[in-house]
Amino acid sequence: MTERVAPPPPADLLATVVTLCRLLRERGVAATPAESIDAARSLAVVDLFDREDVRLALRSVLVSRRDDFDAFDAAFAEVWSVAWGIPSPIPLPGPRREMIKPPTPAPPRQPAVSLQNWMKPSEAEGSDPITVRAASDNESLGARDFAQYAAEDDAAFAALARRIARRLTLRRSRRWKAARRGRRLDLRRTVRSSLRTGGDAIRLERRSRKIRRTTLVALCDLSGSMELYARFLLQFLHALQNTFARVETFAFATRLSRLTPLLRGVHYRECLRDLGREVQDFSGGTRIGASLRTFLDRHPKLVDRRTIVLVMSDGWDVGDPAVLAESLRVLHRRAGRVIWLNPLMGAADYRPDTRGMQAALPYIDVLAPGHNMDALQKLVRHLAV
């Protein structure tokens, strides 16, 4: 059942372990130096003549999740056959092999179509009707041209933002903290302080539930296809940004930019002007996967278990779906919840079968429409981790 082949000498054995670790790292299976050391230690206690023993032991040490088993087994097969003198069909990688394919050159720079359009005052284009994609949704707000969401609707957005903020700030954790007017007695501190008064608990110390701190990260697609909705969604994010402190907003099309500071202004119209100035190179296509990867690389600490990630995009991705799937997988693993708002879902016959949406689906907790006010109102109940 098991192959028995004489192992290489110890020095080569160590080199093999190091090669294996490097190969794993290149394939995205993080094998830390500490684990390489443990891997070497584990080889000292198993039967080196037995391939299966070695494989199972190294896998136990070097891999820390089920999803990485296949990657490990493949890498092991390559390294093992080389190290143990069996000709390998697959050449070992050089020390610097590019893991990620270099990005294909970006399409020629275009002016920010959508942002430029927004800069026009909406009053001037009032007579110009725009057909929204969410044509089936005939609710009073849903059928309404988003360009009409202007200053007079600030109040509606502000009210929604307040609801969301309340929901995000009032979540009680299961943990306790000392509190002057807590509902429960804190016996530990009561006993402590009663020592001072000879064991009579004159002051009853109290405790209450901690508030769970939730943060929100919004990633908004500002590519050409999102033009109609982006203005609306940005106004929503602007309202949110001004109500709730722990929001970070990013925009992407082919590249990523951080909008948080730009949205901090009180008046949306002024913010839009700044946005138009700052955010110059949004072009027709969207590279969602690459943008998400940039986000993960540049802001590795921003997303944790208490973060809700809100991706707002129609899923028309011109990039490689595999990149999108991979970035979302990482994001999903780190975040408390990933919500994808797709404005196209407002249409009754919408099916998420673009390549981008298909790649994204396994890593989304909630897929919701985000095409009108009602849709955003319904979103509130999903905003919890």
Partner: protein, 296 residues
């Protein structure tokens, strides 16, 4: 196979834990390298059982910490025995002695309630097996705290000072993957994934754990369970469910499966209304024989 690994496997099987090479290798490595073992897998595949069997194999005590959200140091590590402290203060009110002296007695071993983690650290003699069950249910604060404990096995109690483990316990963590554990915790542990068993392995488990089962019935039970795991159910039955079902059928003196007995007992292994209907549909279509004759 390394002699020791085979021995681990043999000893575990003697304790009626049917195992495979991966399990035996990981368990052996955990004790040989002195590293915690993180066990993941579907519910009911015997993750917790590993720690129990390990304690029996090593002839030592099993200390279990069940995790849940909001689990904190006072439930996991230690807590002072307040009623006793209060009583002690009352009784000693008139006794001579300075406040500092009184406080020192008040915060001594006698008033300390050792919760599982502290119990494992202060354990004398053979190192115990510390089972940290369903660690994915605890929150991140606790995970960070756990990481600290697992790295040096020492605890600082402000009133008493630092307590260091005399012998390192053998640590087994289990997770049902309801949430992703932190990278740091994963890195600290050896990793073991337990899959649903193969037909042969499950048959052996059922036969070992449920005596009094006819050969035919054991095969049929295993066949049905194996088939069900290949169907789109909302909750797949684990090995624990096959054992429950087998025990129920023995109690009903069944010696083979028929439609009636399956309908009567399917609550043993299906825990979801939709799954119920799915199986009933299969039974209505007369597919019980096909399900039961599955053999890998």
């Amino acid at each position: 196979m390394k002699e020791e690994i085979r021995r681990v496997q043999d000893v575990m099987e003697r304790e009626a834990y049917i195992t495979d090479r991966q399990v035996a290798t990981s368990v052996f490595l955990a004790s040989a390298l002195g590293k915690p073992l993180l066990v993941e897998g579907h519910p009911g595949v015997g993750k917790t059982e590993i720690a129990k069997v390990l304690a029996q194999v090593l002839g030592t005590e099993l200390i279990r910490l069940q995790c849940y959200e909001g689990l904190d140091a006072s439930t996991a590590l230690y807590e002072w025995n307040y009623p006793r402290q209060l009583l002690h203060i009352k009784l000693g009110e008139t006794a001579p002695g300075s406040l500092a002296e009184k406080e020192a007695t008040l915060f001594s071993d006698a008033f300390l309630l050792k919760r599982p983690l502290l119990a494992a650290i202060t354990h004398h003699g053979t190192p115990p097996v510390l089972l940290i069950d369903e660690v994915d249910r605890s929150d991140e604060e606790f995970e960070a705290f756990l990481l600290e404990i697992l790295s040096d096995f020492q605890v600082t109690i402000p009133e008493m000072g630092t307590i260091r483990a005399e012998t390192r316990p053998v640590v087994v963590l289990t997770s049902n993957r309801t949430r992703e554990l932190s990278e740091a915790l994963r890195r600290r542990c050896l990793y073991l994934w337990i899959d649903y068993p193969s037909f042969e392995k499950e048959l052996r488990i059922v036969r070992t754990k449920v005596p009094g089962l006819s050969e035919q019935l054991a095969r049929e039970i295993t066949g049905v369970l194996q088939s069900l795991r290949r169907m789109r159910l909302s909750k797949h039955p684990g090995v624990a469910e096959s054992l429950d079902w087998a025990a129920a059928l023995v109690a009903l003196h069944a010696d083979h499966l028929d439609e009636t007995v399956v309908r009567e007992t399917m609550g043993c292994f299906l825990k979801d209304d939709g799954d119920f209907r799915l199986l009933e549909h299969e039974l209505d279509a007369g597919r019980l024989a096909a399900l039961a004759s599955f053999a890998g």
